[in-house]
Subunit: 401 residues, 2 copies
């Protein structure tokens, strides 16, 4: 079901505010059966106080058993079906480094490589050239000009960079030019559908000119492009929900994802306390705030159970400043679970807490994985969280008479 | 959503083993409100011990309120959408008697009937001719040869048999030849789409020759064909999950269903203990084992509550031998509920238990219908069980970056 077909038609104007607090990778696991999870182990008086007046549920990021990356994880939370709206590799890479892709843009991941005198690849990663050597080369590639098409090149790390093509008639169905082996020349860019022909032509012109510019380099005298992808065509928060939305995030990836759905990126936060200050400063200007907290995920990825517990406690300590603003709807969740036990993203339902004056509290007095899956929201696909938020905010009219 | 589009892309190699223990018709009902179900009444220390370290859920075979037959019940458990992948009657009948249908084969259910001198049906079931009289007649029909097409005839029971057509260009959209009444001749086989024309022509040739062979029989001097159906085109376990899968089943139907998804049928088991021995013998050769226990269903169908309780206890006693093999993932479930109270398959969620080191235990200490629906897996469509199994087995990569 296309939930946006409903929200587009039903959303109404209101002054109510919604806050979506995302603790990345919030859900966890006990280190052994019978134990507690990170969230259950944390001292979190503020979240527990919210649990008493809120309703919990287990948010399933994609579908049972599927562990999402940050892209599909956040799209789901934002209310976009993460299978329907796939963000291609190139577009995600550009998004992840904070490049503001526009509709129609096509991005590709670039690799510097080493070519021999015959133009054949001898090293697909240019000897893993260090970033301080490769970044100036990426910047140099900005000199390449293709008629009728703007190009943007951004360094990433070591041998990697991103190139974004902007112009009329471009599309992303273009094969990788990386032959995945050495001893052969890079492949020509080749369109796999009619509408991507022009993109392939532009890419080949750009590659030829860029390779000429790199001539004389010892390590990085060639390049390949992979993962061509157009900016996904996501309808905006304004359009589907009628929300003026702001994102308060630290890392480029999450700012980028928020930008893709039309959120404004506000403030230049470093720490959580700064994010709270930015929230307070922008409170009157937006209807919806997405606040992203990274460190519950990174400590989970490190497999550091006590550190993740500590980060949850830090996150908890910031809650009163959000509550003090009296949002009509406050949601605490994660884009996926990142159990320290697995040191990776996982498929487990994410403990999710929704507080509003009309949320039908479920009687739980603490917030955790096992209270969540037995909570009043049950287990639900993440993509329905936004509909629940709008409903609790009094921002959805009745469906049908 | 086509879950196999995800699993096909995401499955990874691993040494981990998955065991799917299916107690057919496991779920039940109390005989009166407030009472216990068969599973809740059974003394089942081994299942209860697993409950303490596992996570439970209620598996919905098709969708709420729909009671499945064995075909859709098992397809769901195997991870195939039971509405998308329908097994036609003829193909299910052939599968059920253990006939190994190949891709492109078309099967039909045959009925012997009695014809009068004018070729009109006087008895649609040939006087319910006993199996010992009808089986030799079915075997005799193997003499019928149709150019360009192989045919296979298998006796079933009383007036029933199965015929399978094998050859190029056959398809299953052919109407029944049984007029569903007496006093008229059997109908000609008639295709309902262009691609089934040849099948109808072959069927008519076969029917004419077969009827000639039966001339002189007193009861069974004619026949009708019903439920033409091609072998369903199910992608294999190897393809969609990357699993080398083995089935350890006693009854032909379940072996047949397993064969349809590409499982190897291993061993010649009679009792559950023999199935366990076969499991032990084949442990190193496969990634996935489907073990089918029939008697929880048959006792339920008989409406024999105490007998079903006893069969559950028998099933429970076999658990330690599975646990001793240390599968990475152990699942206990049923293909549907068969409450003794209803004496039939039912729609109720099937108590399902999943045990792995990363399953997020839900704190239950016994296994039963009411713990299951309040379990950590919640209520879920059966088709997601395989995705959960793969995830818990560490056999699925992250979706998206």
């Amino acid at each position: 079901m296309d939930i946006h077909a409903l929200t587009r038609e039903l959303h109404t104007k209101s002054d109510s505010k919604i806050v979506l607090l995302v603790a990345d990778g919030l859900g966890g696991l006990p280190m052994s059966a019978g134990g507690k999870t990170e969230l259950e182990s944390a001292l979190k008086p503020n979240l527990d106080a919210l649990a008493k007046v809120g309703v919990q549920g287990g948010s399933i990021p994609v579908c049972p058993g599927i562990s999402p990356g940050s892209g599909p994880g956040h799209l789901g939370l934002f209310g976009y079906d993460p299978v329907q709206y796939l963000i291609g590799r190139g577009a995600l890479e550009a998004t992840g480094i904070g490049f503001p892709m526009e509709p129609g843009d096509v991005a590709a991941r670039g690799n510097f490589c080493t070519l021999d005198a015959d133009g054949k690849i001898t090293d697909r990663r240019a000897g893993r050239i260090p970033s301080e050597e490769s970044a100036p080369l990426a910047v140099k590639l900005r000199e390449v000009k293709i008629p009728g098409c703007q190009t943007f090149v951004e360094p990433v790390k070591e041998h990697r960079f991103v190139v974004v093509f902007r112009g009329p008639g471009l599309a992303g169905a273009v094969k990788d030019t990386d032959p995945q082996t050495t001893g052969v020349a890079p492949l020509a860019a080749e369109a796999t559908d009619e509408s991507s022909r022009q993109m392939a032509d532009v890419a080949n012109l750009w590659i030829a000119a860029a390779t000429k510019l790199l001539a004389g380099e010892k390590k990085a005298n060639g390049l390949t492009l992979r993962g061509f992808a157009a900016r996904p065509n996501l309808p905006s928060y304004e359009e589907v929900y009628g929300l003026r939305a702001a994102a308060i995030a630290v890392y480029p990836m999450y700012k980028g994802l928020a930008r893709l759905v039309g959120m404004d990126i506000v403030g230049q936060a470093g720490a959580l306390a700064e994010q709270m200050t930015i929230l307070e400063q922008h409170w009157s200007k937006y209807d919806f705030f997405f606040i992203h907290f990274k460190y519950t995920d990174s400590t989970g990825e490190d497999g550091d159970f006590p550190a993740k517990v500590k980060k949850i406690e830090e996150f908890d300590a910031a809650i009163p400043r959000v509550v003090a603003l009296k949002p009509k709807v406050l949601i605490v969740t994660g884009d996926h679970s990142t159990p320290s036990y697995l040191k990776s993203h996982s498929w487990h339902p994410v403990p999710t807490l929704l507080v509003s004056d009309c949320c039908r509290p479920d009687g739980h007095t603490t917030f955790g994985e096992n209270t969540a899956v037995h909570g009043g929201l049950g287990q639900f696909e993440a993509k329905y969280l936004m509909t629940l938020a709008l409903a609790n905010a009094g921002r959805l009219a009745k469906y049908g008479a």
